[in-house]
Symmetry: C2
Subunit: 163 residues, 2 copies
């Protein structure tokens, strides 16, 4: 049995007990969370985010890429969110990943160079500050006064505010 | 009190009860899930994904953008995942969003045109097929034989396999 098959079993149980009907598409807390894809981060548990509460945007690192700006532009302009929480974390695989080396490695194996940066960063707190700054200065986001940046400690489960 | 302040309260409770120590960074199920940022999708509940199980990559739509390919390249090459599940959903705000109109609207308000596509799509099942196809043919992903695509029904909680 594959991992996906196992998850389909969980989903069948969930659907069988599904009693909430259709929730609104606009997040009730008017919040979007940007965080890393890391398997150890479970927003329902770590942040108490229930169904319908908030948009959750995740990629390798929780770095503020153009795709994150795109998603937040949709989130704020079409679905009325106003707050943004950027959550990067300790022990992240992107922390210390050297961009040129990673792309060299992919190129050596794939026969072509990735057209995107790896997203690696040398300093965690600085990366949070840069992500928040990128959001605060984005011309595409109508709401940039409630952008806050955090480090999540995978060792303790604790969020620490950076900016 | 802002929504973020409320979440910080939840996190303090979570951290106080945090007993799992530090989990490994590599997902135990060797799986990455690509899905929409939609507030109604809670992977822990809908898929039974516990801490440490899987990477979760989310953006507006669950569309396979370059940033998703970047994240999956890191996921497979650095953290040993091999399966990929693409989960788009019914009642998605990106379903039927016309790209040119959305960019016109942003341009009219922001004074400059976004350099990225909106990610809108006209047909849901077709968008899932295209996302899966983009992953299966990516030169950067070493594992493309276990890519499966689904529609999640926000009305019922049920996953339906498309491809």
């Amino acid at each position: 049995m594959t991992a996906i098959d196992e998850l389909l079993g969980h989903n069948a149980d969930y659907a069988a007990a599904f009693g909430k009907g259709e929730l609104p598409s606009a997040p009730s807390k008017r919040l979007a969370v940007v965080t890393c894809m890391d398997a150890r981060i479970v927003p329902l548990r770590a942040l108490g985010l229930e169904e319908g509460d908030a948009h959750v945007i995740r990629n390798a690192g929780g770095v503020v890429t153009d795709d994150v700006i795109r998603s937040l532009t949709v989130s704020q302009r079409k679905l009325r969110t106003i707050e943004v929480m950027v959550v990067m974390h300790t022990r992240c695989g992107m922390h210390g990943l050297a961009d040129a080396e990673f792309r060299d490695e992919v190129q050596a194996d794939a026969g072509q160079r990735p057209p995107w940066s790896s997203g690696g960063f040398p300093d965690l707190e600085q990366a949070v500050r840069e992500g928040a700054a990128r959001l605060r200065t984005s011309p595409f986001l109508p709401h940039t006064d409630q952008v806050r940046g955090f480090v999540y400690e995978v060792e303790t489960g604790r969020l620490r505010e950076v900016v």
